[in-house]
């Protein structure tokens, strides 16, 4: 079943390249992937810690190279997210003027890379699957992008390639840091063996991982590729990349850095706190200053990464669970916003706020959906983002808390809370400028009927997990319980 989820999109991509009817095949594959992921997600044994549905295929024993897959609550959450967004992204793909088959193949390959990375238990494949998405991203932005697509495509490719190779060195150093008799590329064995790594040896490895993963997640100051790439990418590509693929870096920190390098995580937490505050406050202010809808959304997705980093930095059960939840919730909400953004781009000559206005009368459904997406992104109660952010905030605040003094975690939390206000400012202003006020545009149509289904799917997902966050939390916590002895 798990194998099916990983390889279905890849097979579909190949079949489409060979000339199968693109849209039908892609939709079918995405739907099947979602069904299978949902089946596994709701069928997982909640009580059991550790990985389930493990399958292993030895490849090169001298290199410790095995194709091992398996899932736990954390990876399943991410796989479900990937499947949902893949379906929405494929569905949202409008008319493609050239190389239609290649477009769908690229989308499927990005999703396959993300799912493969989340399901891999071998570091080599964990890394390799993520990189699989690099060429499709380059092609998607380069061929079908809009605006400054050439610069954006180069930037994203070179940033991500460099970040990935830095990450690769970090992973190799981690692998080399454990004694040779217990050395392994298997995440489970490595986690047990990582106890042997001294704090002094952990430190440089953690920095490399933070640098590598951080670049992939657009941690300040390695974020400049993200807004431009998302602003230029075609809507389905932006949905998949910002919603799913970017979460790989955070997933890696949660899966590898946190359990295997606990001392270094504590040692470098101050640095991470400063950087994530820059993500929240500085990028937040930059987002307010944006004058275009697509750039605003691109920057907002960079900003929200700060909260997830806060959850990771707090390195406790509550914070990490919140981070996992927010990865899911943010993926859904940003995908919804990019989808609407893409619809607007198809209909309008410009996405400058000055040129927009009054669209709510012409496109009531789009306005409604965008509003819900904006509310979710801001973190209004009732959406999954709210539940996640509040867990992160409490988790971070609790870290080293005493009743006499505020320490760095408490101050950071307080400052980070202002980010909620900042995001409310830019989201609501953008909402007003785009959808209300005097209309300047000619007659345009609302989102077509078939496209309302994925919109409804995304909104329903966000609200379902907003009202019942427990369904996710209970799946994720066994993983984190094994990390933190609380």
């Amino acid at each position: 079943m798990l194998l099916l989820i990983i390889f279905l999109p890849i097979i579909a991509a190949v079949v489409i390249m060979l000339g199968a009817p693109a849209r039908v095949a892609a939709l079918g594959a995405a739907l099947l992937t979602l069904l299978a992921s949902a089946l596994i997600f709701f069928g997982i044994d909640r009580g059991a810690a550790g990985f389930q549905r493990v399958r292993s295929f030895p490849i090169a024993p001298d290199l410790h190279l095995e194709f091992t897959i398996g899932v736990d609550g954390l990876s399943l959450t991410m796989i479900l997210l990937a499947a949902i967004i893949l379906l929405a992204a494929v569905w949202f793909t409008g008319k493609i003027d050239r190389y239609e088959n290649a477009f769908y193949s690229c989308l499927l390959l990005i999703a396959a890379g993300a799912i493969g990375a989340f399901a891999s238990l071998n570091l080599f494949f964990f890394y390799a699957f993520h990189e699989l998405a690099l060429i499709p991203t380059f092609l998607l932005i380069g061929i079908w992008g809009s605006g400054n697509r050439v610069t954006a495509a180069w930037k994203v490719t070179i940033y991500l390639a460099l970040g990935s190779f830095i990450l690769l060195i970090g992973l190799i150093m981690l692998y080399r840091a454990v004694p040779s008799d217990v050395r392994s590329l298997d995440i489970r064995d490595l986690q047990a063996a990582a106890l042997h790594i001294s704090p002094a040896a952990q430190s440089p490895i953690y920095l490399l991982l933070l640098l590598g993963f951080g670049t992939l997640v657009s941690l300040v100051p390695f974020h400049t590729w993200a807004p431009e790439a998302y602003a230029s990418a075609p809507a389905p590509a932006a949905m998949l990349h910002a919603g799913v693929l970017k979460k790989f870096g955070l997933y890696g920190l949660l899966r590898i850095a946190l359990p295997m390098l606990p001392d270094a995580t504590r040692q470098w937490s101050n640095l991470l706190l400063v950087l994530l505050l820059a993500n929240i406050i500085y990028i937040g202010l930059v987002t307010i200053a944006q004058r275009r809808l697509d750039w605003m959304l691109g920057y907002s997705s960079v900003m929200h990464m700060g909260y997830i980093f806060l959850g990771i930095a707090s390195a406790n059960l509550l914070g990490a669970t919140g981070a996992a939840l927010l990865m899911f919730a943010h993926g859904i909400s940003i995908a919804l916003l990019f989808a609407i953004n893409g619809e607007l781009r198809q209909r309008l000559p410009s996405l400058e706020f000055d040129a927009l206005g009054g669209l709510a009368t012409r496109m009531p459904i789009a306005a409604f959906a965008f509003g819900l997406g904006a509310f979710a992104a801001v973190g209004l109660p009732g959406f999954a983002n709210f539940a996640a952010e509040i867990m992160i905030v409490f988790g971070a605040f609790r870290n080293g808390f005493d009743f006499q003094h505020f320490h760095i975690f408490q101050w950071t939390t307080l400052l980070a809370l202002w980010g909620v206000v900042i995001s409310a400012v830019y989201m609501l202003r953008a909402y007003r400028w785009t959808f209300f006020g005097t209309s300047t545009t000619l007659a345009i149509t609302d989102i077509s009927l078939p496209l309302r289904i994925p919109v409804a799917l995304l909104i329903a997902t966000s609200m379902f997990f907003g009202f019942f966050p427990q369904t996710l939390v209970e799946k994720v916590t066994p993983t984190f319980r094994s990390y933190f002895a609380e």
């Binding site: 490849i59 090169a60 001298d62 290199l63 190279l65 194709f67 190389y99 080599f124 890394y127 390799a128 699957f129 990189e131 699989l132 690099l134 060429i135 380059f138 092609l139 380069g142 061929i143 050439v150 495509a153 180069w154 490719t157 070179i158 390639a161 460099l162 190779f165 830095i166 690769l168 060195i169 190799i172 150093m173 692998y175 080399r176």
Partner: protein
């Protein structure tokens, strides 16, 4: 079961036989010679799997010069595969050849063009087995002299003439360095055999300075072969001017043999600490220069020339870290991805040109060729699930294990540069509009060869076991 030296004998006999047939049958379609060469090479390739272990012959004096260890056998196979693909490319290249040489018959020169690679191949195979400086020198000369002819084969083309002269002069110079270095080493240690030199070097009473001086001179000569900076000056011009199949041969065959000799020669000398420092410096320079100089290239042939310098840098990281496994696997990966890109270049270059703009919109004109080039470029850049990535993975793994962190840092940064110039080709093929609407015809044999190379790149990218096993036995 056969003895390893017969493999080279077979290659030479095949080459001589083809030349004789060529000279005695004027009317023969020369392509038949090429097909015969392919069949012969395939037969020799199969024979490499049935070689008896060297130990049974250990008494014969030949084995002081010659080694048939797994490393040698693997590199013999590399030489054979390379030669076969090069001959295949030469068949495709034959029409352009006619424009480059004068002759009475339409077939003039083709026979030699198809048979010379066999002699080169024999030389490369001997190099793989050479464990004595005498043998290294003789086999290296066989390779170099056959390349003198091949590089300047299309002699009407002024660019080719320039390339031929440059290669001749600089090659001769490097040979001089080699012989002089060998003399110094022989003078210091009294030995020509590498194992005996190693034993001599570990004697405490030995005058090490003279041996070190000699080994540096040898390193210069080998640096020329593998195109390491600062011995790379000839590369770009020679690669650009030589007939494209010969360029491919130079950049793969010559380099692979150079590296196996380097591995063998360095083994005794790496106990001298100065040698390691020198190699680190050369590797760093090669990485930086190769990658940076490739960035602004607009001619695909020149781009591949600089990329071959860059890859020599990654290979040198593995050499410094002394990981024969990484060197061997990287070279196998390099072989497939480089030959594949040259195979596409031969076809596109004849129809349109070697410039980057001639690749514009290739994905619309010839989707198959564009896809093949995409795979080759992805592998050269180091995208996972290709052999090129696994090669880089092994190289960096070896470097981290050997604590060569300076080289690791430089390596990672230059990989970023690599992504830029390899993806420039991808960009031209997939983003840009086609320069002309002509499709490029591909012969069935070439198509099969390309599919084989693509399959090899992808399969070795996830399943390196065949190469690793070949190194162990």
């Amino acid at each position: 079961m056969i003895a390893a030296p017969y493999l080279e004998v077979a290659a030479v006999v095949l080459g001589v036989a083809l030349l004789l047939i060529e000279s005695f049958s004027a009317r023969l379609d020369r392509r038949i010679l090429a097909y015969a060469a392919l069949v012969g090479l395939a037969a020799i390739f199969v024979a490499t799997f049935f070689v008896t272990p060297a130990s049974t012959f250990a008494q014969a004096p030949l084995w002081n010069f010659y080694s048939a260890d797994p490393l040698a056998l693997l590199f013999k196979r590399i030489a054979l595969i390379t030669t076969a693909f090069v001959v295949l490319m030469m068949i495709d290249f034959a029409p352009s050849l006619r424009a480059g040489i004068e002759g009475a018959t339409p077939h003039a020169g083709l026979g030699e063009f198809f048979s010379l690679p066999l002699f080169t191949c024999a030389g490369l195979m001997w190099m793989a087995s050479a464990i004595d400086f005498l043998m290294i020198f003789v086999s290296l000369e066989l390779v170099t002299i056959s390349f003198y002819v091949l590089v300047s084969f299309t002699r009407r083309n002024p660019l080719t003439l320039e390339a031929g002269v440059k290669y001749l002069v600089l090659s001769a110079l490097s040979t001089g360095f080699l012989v002089y270095g060998i003399t110094w080493i022989f003078g210091a240690t009294g030995e020509m055999n590498l194992q005996k030199i190693a034993a001599a070097l570990s004697r405490p009473d030995l005058e090490k300075t003279a041996a070190l001086f000699g080994s540096v001179l040898v390193l210069v000569a080998l640096g020329f072969k593998i195109a390491a900076v600062p011995f790379h000056i000839w590369v770009a011009d020679v690669y650009e001017g030589a007939p494209t199949p010969v360029t491919a041969y130079l950049s793969v065959g010559s380099k692979a043999a150079g590296f196996v000799v380097l591995l063998r020669v360095l083994e005794p000398f790496l106990i001298l600490p100065q040698m390691r420092v020198l190699l680190v410096v050369i590797a760093a320079l090669t990485l930086i220069y190769g990658n940076l100089a490739a960035l602004p290239q607009t001619n695909v042939k020149r781009l591949l020339a600089y990329s071959s310098i860059a890859h020599a840098g990654y290979l040198l990281i593995a050499v410094v870290s002394f990981s024969g496994r990484a060197v061997a696997f990287y070279l196998v990966a390099y072989l497939f991805m480089t030959l594949l890109s040259f195979a596409v270049l031969v076809l596109v270059g004849q129809k349109a040109g070697d410039q980057l703009k001639d690749f514009g919109g290739l994905s619309q004109r010839s989707p198959f060729l564009a896809f093949a080039m995409l795979i080759a470029m992805a592998s050269l850049a180091g995208v996972p699930f290709t052999a090129g990535f696994l090669g880089k993975f092994l190289v960096f793994d070896a470097a981290v294990a050997a604590h060569q962190f300076t080289l690791v840092i430089i390596g990672v940064i230059t990989v970023g540069a690599g992504f830029y110039y390899y993806f420039k080709v991808v960009r031209a093929m997939y983003w840009d509009m086609p320069a002309s609407g002509e499709t490029i015809p591909i012969s069935l044999l070439t198509r099969i060869a390309m599919i084989t190379m693509m399959a090899a790149i992808v399969v070795l990218g996830v399943y390196p076991q065949p190469v690793l096993e070949a190194l162990k036995r």
